[in-house]
Every structure is written in structure tokens, then in C-alpha cells.
């Protein structure tokens, strides 16, 4: 019985380990290739770690390519999208969670419908719409498009967080002397920090890795985001894997940092002690 249980636990841990290795292996490979000197890349066969490592790819990417521009553009686009979407989604999610109003049902249905289209279908019409507005080839254009596509899902996400906060709290605040908006800002919003963090993280990473629209709406390096920029390492006759991977490793940093920053809020149950318990 005891050994059976031990075996089961062991198998469970092993399964998790296998999964983690499987999930992280591409990242490891990314790192490995990024530090492999060019002359060893094809000559050493398949090895877990090159016999000699180098940071020359990183140096080149940072100093001599347009990567810093891509990086900066991506940071701006993803950051702005995350902030815009989170603000809009908090407000609309709160409205859906707390208010009853006419056409609420239809608004929800419409927002769901927007999630049903394959994005590829929308590339051409969106290009047509943005082009006369001068929003192609601009970061603002990308922020608008990304925000539009992320707001519905983020709204539902935020709504579920608001639903989890007892209505009594803002009623208490309103009796204490707050308007509904002040109650929202001072009482409810601080309690939805986990939700806000989750939404920020979700939208940031979605925008960070978005390729399709970035590729279609942006031409030229000035406004290119990093996923588009990665393609510049693919030239007509060869792919510069070392530099591409180095750029990839660098691109991972902000996403990691971002989640490091917000993970505290993601795991915290902030509403503990609000109501009976």
C-alpha cells in the first residue's frame, strides 16, 4: 500500500518533470544556439552544449542591427496595448458585472462574435480602414488594432474578477459617503489587482508576440515590432540563426520581467476577510 502510493507519487513527479523539460526545451535550444559560434553551428553535430561559447551574436544584435528599434517598438506597442485594454476592460467588466442596462445581452453577444473570426479574414478590411487614416506603418495603428481585438476577452476576464467581489463592499462605501465611481476606484479596484495583473500580463504577451497584423500593417524597419524584426535575420540565401536566437533570447527578457513583477498579485487572494468567513 505504502510503496504503491510512493510509486504513484514518483510517477506523478516524473510526468511533471517530463512535461517541464518538454516545454522548456525549445527555450534552452534558443539559448544554446544564441551562444554557439557560427563556425561550430553546423560542424559539431547535435550537441547539448557547444564546446566553445560566445556572446558575439548578442553584441552584433545590440550594436549593429535594427533590433534595439524593434525592441523599443514592441515595448511601446505591447505596453500601451496592455494599459489601454486593461483600463477599458476594467470599466466595461465592472459595468457588465454590476449594472443592468438595456442591450446588455446584445453587447455581450457582439463581443463574443468578434472573437469568432479567424484574424486572417480581417487583415484586408482592417488595412483598408487604417490606410486612409494614416495609421498603417504606425505604432498607434498597431495599438488600436491590438486593443480592439483584446478588449472583449479582457472584459470577460475582468468581469469574472468583479463578480467575485461582494456587492456589499461598494454599497458600504456608498453609504459611507462615496459615489459609485469613488467606490469603484477606492474599494473595488484595489481588490481586483490580481485580475488587473492577469489582464495586463495576458494582453502584454499577446501583443508582444503578435506577428500577423504587425507584418501586414508595418513596412520598413522604423515601426517594425520585434516579431517582424526577427524576419530580417532571414536573408535570401541564408538564415543567421545565431543572431536570430540571440534576438529571441533578448526578446524574452521583458516578458519574464513583466510576469516577475505581477506574479505577486496573480497569486494573492486580496479579498480575504472582506465578508463573513
Amino acid at each position: 500500500m505504502r510503496s504503491g502510493k510512493l510509486l504513484l507519487t514518483g510517477a506523478h513527479r516524473l510526468a511533471i518533470l517530463v512535461y517541464v523539460v518538454f516545454a522548456l526545451f525549445p527555450l534552452f535550444w534558443l539559448l544554446k544556439v544564441s551562444v554557439t559560434p557560427n563556425d561550430l553551428l553546423y560542424s559539431e553535430g547535435v550537441r547539448m552544449w557547444p564546446s566553445r561559447t560566445t556572446f558575439e551574436h548578442f553584441q552584433f544584435v545590440i550594436a549593429h542591427s535594427a533590433f534595439p528599434t524593434f525592441f523599443k517598438n514592441s515595448l511601446i506597442v505591447s505596453g500601451a496595448t496592455a494599459v489601454v485594454v486593461t483600463i477599458l476592460a476594467s470599466l466595461s467588466g465592472y459595468a457588465l458585472s454590476r449594472f443592468t442596462f438595456r442591450a446588455k445581452y446584445w453587447i455581450v453577444a457582439l463581443m463574443l462574435i468578434t472573437q469568432m473570426f479567424p484574424l486572417v479574414m480581417l487583415v484586408a478590411p482592417i488595412f483598408k480602414m487604417l490606410s486612409p487614416l494614416g495609421l498603417t506603418n504606425s505604432l498607434t495603428g498597431l495599438v488600436i488594432v491590438y486593443s480592439a481585438f483584446n478588449v472583449p476577452f479582457a472584459t470577460f476576464l475582468m468581469q469574472s474578477f468583479f463578480d467575485g467581489i461582494p456587492k456589499d463592499l461598494e454599497e458600504a462605501a456608498m453609504i459611507d459617503g462615496a459615489t459609485q465611481f469613488v467606490a469603484f476606484r477606492q474599494i473595488i479596484l484595489p481588490l481586483t489587482l490580481p485580475g488587473i495583473a492577469a489582464t495586463l500580463g495576458f494582453v502584454f504577451t499577446a501583443a508582444w508576440s503578435e506577428l500577423l497584423f504587425a507584418l501586414m500593417l508595418i513596412s520598413g524597419n522604423d515601426a517594425a515590432t520585434f516579431p517582424v524584426g526577427l524576419l530580417t535575420f532571414v536573408s535570401k540565401f541564408s538564415v543567421d540563426f545565431g543572431q536570430m536566437m540571440a534576438a529571441g533570447v533578448l526578446a524574452l527578457i521583458p516578458a519574464c520581467l513583466f510576469f516577475l513583477l505581477i506574479q505577486r498579485y496573480l497569486v494573492q487572494g486580496l479579498t480575504a476577510g472582506a465578508v463573513k468567513g
Binding site: 461582494p166 454599497e171 456608498m174 453609504i175 459617503g177 481588490l191 472582506a274 465578508v275 463573513k276
Partner: protein, 355 residues
């Protein structure tokens, strides 16, 4: 402090009426308890006074001023919620001072108001804690503290004790009563617990099905319930009811029960002979005696320590007796009972009291 007037107040949710016209005048400094079963509209009425629900029709006045269209924040009332509704991200002190901070009260004033409320409620050592680090009773106290710091015109309580265990509830009940004696603030207290209603209220408003059934002091409701609902709701164990017909005898009158026994009662007006009536008597008023006129089978004996509840079967119907006499423990299998005339209640076919 303020008086509160409620005039023909109705509430419907869409086509569904919940309150069918409530009239009530609450005097300055009075402690009013709204009592009734779940769904009777008592909480809705309270929330309408607070401004958390809209008034469908009718008028609510606080200190003579119509407040129907005022936001909760402009009504100057405080409310204690059943769930306490403490702000989890604020310390106890911040929870209590929130209303004063919103009103931009001077810092020193806030500190002294919070300090004195905390002392009154024994919260001094807890001021820096977050709600999650408090026990249920302490949270309840903080909720009370939050209400009293700003000395509002009226206090509203929405079943504030129903999440506490029995002992704590008893203790807090006494504290609320003391607090009211101390602050003399107009208070409206909603509960479904008739003991809380009896012990706390200056006047009880018994509600059922969105209609006020009776307004009066606790003892008025207990001694002269206006109808079957109030008679059955107030008092524990609840009043016994027996169906019968009103008969007029030589000098007096009586109620003829189904087995033909006539229980003598005082003459009633406003009711004709042979009218169908319900006879009511409280369990503690039934007398067990060997010469009793009715015989009942003992089904169950419940000693509560303080007294004994006998569950009987009278003419096949459940019937209860409450007695302090420990001899009742060995009662049975049959007992004979008597109904003292002065403790009998008679209700007509519609359930209204007849005297």
C-alpha cells in the same frame, strides 16, 4: 438624530411586487426592528431607506426631508451589513475612518472619533490589523465601529448578527442594546430572529408577504398579536392553534373544537355564532392538570435545561407545551390539559384577531 417617515412605499421588481404599500413613522431615537420570514420585504425596505434600492412609489422622509432621489451618500445614514462588508485592503482604523476621510474631516477629529469608537467597542488593540486577521465577532464590532464613528442621523442594521455563533450573538445583542441606550440614535434593525426582535426593539414591525402585519412594542405583539401570522411568528416555541367554531353559551362564549369539547372564552364582538375561528394559546400558558378538559398523547419530551417542551398530539394535530415543572419529564403517555381563559387568542376566518 432624526425621525424617519415612510409613506405608502411600494416596491416592484418589474411586474413582481415585493412591498405592497408600507406606512411607518419612526420617532427620533427609536429602535425599530423589522421582523419577518425570508422574502417578506424587510431587507428591501431597509435598503430603500438606505438608498440602495429605488422606491417604486411612495415617499421616504428623513428628518422631514424627502430622500427618494438622494444618493445613499447624501442621506447621512450608516448601515451594518450581514456580511460586515469590511474593506479588506484597509486596516481596522482605516475601515472605521473611511467615511470621515471621504468627508475630508480634519485629521485630529478623525483620530479622536476613531479612538473613542474603538474604546467603546473594545477595538483598541486591533486598530492596525486587517479584517482577515480578525475573528467573526471582532469583524462584527468593526462594522459597528464604522457605523458609529461619524454619528449619522440613523443606523440601519441588516441582520448583523446572523453570521455569529449563538453565544456571541447573545453577547453582541446586549452590546447593541447598550450602545443604543448610550447613543440614542434612531435605529432600524432587520432580523428574522424573533428573539432579537423582542429583546432589542422599542417597537417591532412584523412583516409578511410585503405587508406590515402589526406595529407595536414587543409585549403588545406577544400579548395581543393582530393576526395569525404575528401570533405564530412571535414566540418560541410558537403558539398552538386549534380550529373550531365560535359558540355563545348562557353567560359567556366558547370555541367548539372538532371533538365537540367547548373551550370557554370571553364573549367576543364582531363575530357571529357558529363562525369558523382559530383558537390560539402559547405553549407556556397551557396548564397540565389531572382535571384538564382535554386529553392529549405525549409524543416527545424535550428537556432544554431551563424548562421542558412537551410535544403532544391533540385531536391528531401537533400541540406543544412549555413548562418549568420538571415533573413533566415523566409525563405520559397521556396528559390532560387546561386552557386558562385569559391567555386564549381568537382569530376569525381571515386570520384577524377578535376581542
Amino acid at each position: 438624530m432624526a425621525s424617519i417617515d415612510i409613506e405608502s412605499v411600494r416596491k416592484s421588481y418589474g411586474p413582481f411586487p415585493v412591498l405592497h404599500g408600507v406606512d411607518l413613522t419612526i420617532r427620533d431615537g427609536e429602535f425599530i426592528v423589522l421582523v419577518g420570514p425570508s422574502g417578506c420585504g424587510k431587507s428591501t425596505l431597509l435598503r430603500m431607506i438606505a438608498g440602495l434600492e429605488e422606491v417604486t412609489s411612495g415617499e421616504i422622509r428623513i428628518s422631514g426631508n424627502r430622500v427618494n432621489d438622494l444618493a445613499p451618500k447624501d442621506r447621512d445614514i450608516a448601515m451594518v451589513f450581514q456580511s460586515y462588508a469590511l474593506y479588506p485592503h484597509m486596516s481596522v482604523a482605516d475601515n472605521m475612518s473611511y467615511s470621515l476621510r471621504l468627508r475630508k474631516t480634519a485629521k485630529e477629529k478623525i483620530a479622536s472619533a476613531v479612538g473613542s469608537a474603538a474604546t467603546k467597542l473594545g477595538l483598541d488593540p486591533l486598530l492596525e490589523r486587517r479584517p482577515k486577521a480578525l475573528s467573526g465577532g471582532q469583524r462584527q464590532r468593526v462594522a459597528m465601529g464604522r457605523a458609529i464613528v461619524r454619528q449619522p442621523k440613523a443606523f440601519l442594521f441588516d441582520e448583523p448578527l446572523s453570521n455569529l455563533d449563538a453565544r456571541l450573538r447573545e453577547q453582541m445583542r446586549a452590546e447593541i442594546k447598550k450602545l443604543h441606550a448610550d447613543l440614542k440614535a434612531t435605529s432600524i434593525y432587520v432580523t428574522h430572529d424573533q428573539i432579537e426582535a423582542m429583546t432589542l426593539a422599542d417597537r417591532i414591525v412584523a412583516m409578511h408577504g410585503g405587508v406590515v402585519q402589526q406595529v407595536g412594542t414587543p409585549l403588545e405583539l406577544y400579548d395581543t398579536p393582530a393576526n395569525l401570522f404575528v401570533a405564530g411568528f412571535i414566540g418560541s416555541p410558537g403558539m398552538n392553534f386549534l380550529e373550531g367554531r365560535y359558540v355563545v353559551t348562557g353567560e359567556g362564549a366558547g370555541i367548539r373544537l372538532s371533538d365537540g369539547t367547548v373551550v370557554p372564552v370571553a364573549r367576543r364582538t364582531g363575530i357571529g355564532p357558529d363562525a369558523a375561528v382559530t383558537l390560539g394559546i402559547r405553549p407556556e400558558h397551557v396548564v397540565i392538570s389531572d382535571s384538564g378538559m382535554l386529553e392529549a398523547g405525549v409524543e416527545l419530551v424535550e428537556p432544554t435545561g431551563f424548562g421542558i417542551i412537551l410535544h403532544l398530539s391533540l385531536h391528531g394535530l401537533p400541540f406543544k407545551i412549555f413548562t418549568l415543572d420538571r415533573e413533566a419529564l415523566s409525563a405520559g403517555p397521556k396528559v390532560r390539559v387546561d386552557f386558562p381563559q385569559k391567555h386564549l387568542h381568537v382569530f376569525d376566518e381571515k386570520g384577524n384577531r377578535v376581542d
